[in-house]
């Protein structure tokens, strides 16, 4: 799917610049965005997802311009699946309702079809027996699997994941990444902001390195990890490797 932006930037009201003006245009199937905290990764993902508006610039997804009017954005968001770092599930709804109610209300499914689709996905992600549980009763990994199920339930054309595993214990991280890997094998297009370098390298076709609001490197994952050519990326990867087994 083609993602393109021109002169895209974001400044917050206090005046600090999160994203410096950047241009981008490429066909994206699976993309990882990596980089140190505060580099603008989540902000960029939110702009692509239509959750926040850029200060300058224009954005095209799937060759259609994403206009920054709230009513247009609402329609646009329906075609995108979003998974948040944590706290993304509605805490007053059980796992099934978290998936089924948006299907009913936003995508016009009937009650039965929405419920069947929710149960189908919960079963697929190994959560069939937990459908009645509210988020507080689920483990971190289970929560994220429900969140992914909710995001893909309406069959979005693009899935955006904002550090879906960074609040999780290592064993849960694996189970969540496995699910995303499976989706990739089925041909789901996604962009993931992640600190899991192994996942970026092996499960994503391309990787972008964002540093202090600038897109410093972008290419095939294998090449980016094998031959980092900016000092910033070399240092960033070096730091991550310091405590590797």
């Amino acid at each position: 799917m083609k993602v393109e932006f021109q002169n895209l930037s974001k400044q917050f009201e206090a005046g600090q610049t999160i994203l410096k003006p950047m241009d981008f245009s490429d066909e994206i199937n699976t993309l990882a965005i990596i980089g140190p905290s505060g580099g603008g990764k989540s902000t960029l993902l939110r702009i692509i997802g239509g959750l926040i508006t850029p200060t300058t610039g224009r954005l095209w997804v799937d060759s259609k311009e994403v206009t920054q009017k709230e009513s247009d954005l609402q329609k646009y968001r329906r075609q995108i699946g979003f998974v948040f770092q944590q706290g993304g599930l509605f805490r007053h709804m059980n796992a099934k309702d978290n998936i089924a109610i948006p299907l009913e209300q936003v995508h016009g499914y009937s009650k039965e079809t929405a419920s069947a689709r929710a149960m189908e996905l919960l079963e697929r992600f190994g959560l069939k027996d937990d459908w009645k549980k509210r988020p507080a009763a689920l483990s971190g990994g289970q929560k994220q699997r429900v969140a992914i199920a909710r995001a893909i339930a309406p069959r979005p054309k693009l899935l955006l994941l904002d550090e879906p595993t960074s609040a999780l214990d290592p064993e849960y991280t694996t189970e969540v990444l496995d699910v995303i890997r499976e989706l990739k094998d089925e041909g789901m297009h996604f962009i993931i902001v992640t600190h899991e370098m192994g996942f970026a390298r092996h499960a994503c076709e391309k990787t972008a390195f964002l540093y202090e609001g600038s897109l410093l490197e972008y290419c095939e994952s294998e090449q980016l990890f094998n031959h980092p050519w900016t000092g910033q990326l070399q240092r960033f990867l070096g730091k991550l490797l310091e405590w590797n087994v």
């Binding site: 968001r77 979003f82 007053h92 948006p102 936003v106």
Partner: protein, 262 residues
């Protein structure tokens, strides 16, 4: 020995058996009754409730007035509370200050002072002649300030991440309000609101000061005639408990029901 200990002593994680509950409740009741009875004996009072039958219609009428006062005040104070909570985050500064000062003034002064102030000064000036209506208004203005804080607190408890998730799944403003904001603030505010209703019932007794013939005033009048002060006030307490006890049980139930946050 262990078994007997278990009837009186619970460690944190254990379930409490029904026998232990009943036994301890009985024990506490006996203790209270004994304490009361000894105190009454010490001042040589012998309780005689036979007069109640004679005054039952007046007591019943007072009881109904108390319920009417409390219900009307609850509804009106709820509306005032919502308006004031919304007003406190209004972009119009004078509305924000108006609501802020209202809440601080009401919560910072005793109800009895407000009753006199509103009834004799403002009530007289604006020609409010019905004592019942004046009572409802005064009580609503008073409780509204507390309800305003309950609602404001539950609005503050709304997590930004929940609103972002609502946008993320494609909800529009109305759907966000209906499926996310409203259920979450209700869950947060409902137990406290129910508790506040019990407070309204108790606080309505102070309206006897401006001679609204509600339950307390009815009892005061009766006790002024037959001089059976102890019996009158004891029975008065029982009647208030009949109203407030079920409500506080409901409040506790709601609190458990909506406890979904870890």
């Amino acid at each position: 020995m262990m078994k007997i200990k278990k009837l009186f002593w619970v460690s944190e994680k254990e379930n409490i058996s029904h026998t232990a509950v009943l036994l301890n409740l009985l024990f506490v009741t006996v203790l209270w009754v004994a304490l009361f009875w000894l105190s009454l004996n010490a001042i040589h009072v012998h309780l005689d409730f036979s007069f109640l039958k004679q005054f039952r219609i007046r007591i019943w009428d007072g009881f109904l007035v108390t319920i009417g006062l409390s219900l009307s005040s609850f509804i009106l104070s709820f509306i005032i509370g919502i308006l004031s909570a919304a007003g406190q985050s209004s972009p119009l500064l004078f509305i924000r200050f108006f609501c802020g000062i209202y809440v601080k003034f009401i919560r910072g002064t005793p109800l009895i002072m407000q009753i006199y102030l509103f009834f004799y000064i403002i009530g007289t000036a604006w020609g409010v002649s019905s004592r019942f209506a004046a009572g409802v208004m005064i009580l609503s203005i008073f409780e509204g300030a507390y309800i305003s804080e309950i609602i404001r607190g539950s609005l503050l408890s709304l997590d930004e991440s929940q609103l972002e998730a609502a946008r993320g799944v494609g909800f529009n403003r109305k759907q966000t309000l209906r499926y996310v904001i409203f259920p979450q603030i209700t869950a947060c505010a409902l137990p406290a609101l129910t508790g506040q209703f019990a407070s309204i019932i108790k606080d309505s007794s102070l309206l006897s000061m401006i001679a609204v013939i509600e339950l307390t005033q009815a009892m005061r009048e009766i006790s002024a005639v037959n001089l059976r002060l102890f019996e009158c006030y004891l029975f008065l307490g029982v009647l208030y408990l009949c109203l407030t006890l079920p409500i506080s049980l409901i409040s506790e139930f709601l609190e458990r029901r909506f406890q979904y946050e870890s």
